[in-house]
Symmetry: C2
Subunit: 108 residues, 2 copies
């Protein structure tokens, strides 16, 4: 299965960019809610350092995950679908072969 070197048409790129941005906004909004929720119940220093550890991990994860380079997009989208930040229907309009690859990788 050839995964990384598929061509992306301009239409596909537009769909991909939109889907990427939607998932990113969804995940970041969820993360902001989590941080606000955790912050409200801070009462001791350990809670604060746990929040710091949480933010360190999430920053690392988010920085690594949202990699908008065309050869990586199939993997990026598969991860986002797997983690529930994107649905396959939001990728509608991509070449069926790409959708099939993303869907298969997301089930792994």
């Amino acid at each position: 299965m050839q995964l990384t070197s598929a061509e992306w048409t301009e239409t596909e790129e537009n769909i991909a960019k939109k889907a990427f941005d939607i998932a990113y906004k969804r995940e970041i909004d969820d993360l902001i809610d989590s941080v606000k929720h955790k912050a409200v119940s801070l009462s001791a220093i350990d809670d604060m350092w746990h929040l710091h550890d949480f933010l360190s991990a999430k920053r690392h994860e988010v920085d690594g995950k949202y990699d908008y380079r065309l050869p990586m997009l199939v993997f990026v989208f598969a991860g986002l679908v797997k983690d529930g930040w994107l649905s396959l229907s939001e990728l509608e309009g991509l070449n069926p072969d790409k959708i099939a690859k993303i869907s298969a990788l997301a089930r792994m």
Copy 2:
């Protein structure tokens, strides 16, 4: 001026421990309030990473600052007085020579 090798009586150690704990609690409580305040107004990812940077810096600072080893205490207390986390009156009962050293260092 000899700063590090002064003897500490048991009474002085009790006063020092109490003052140390008071300053620590004061600074941590203030820090928790700051984090809660910052968290309430989080609205974008940059705010969240700024909060992360703020926590990283504070964790490093607090870990380094609250060093309860007797030879370091004069310096620790001087820093705490200088930064407003402790008043000299809360060190009352320490040897006047120690108070004078702490006071002089705090003004540097």
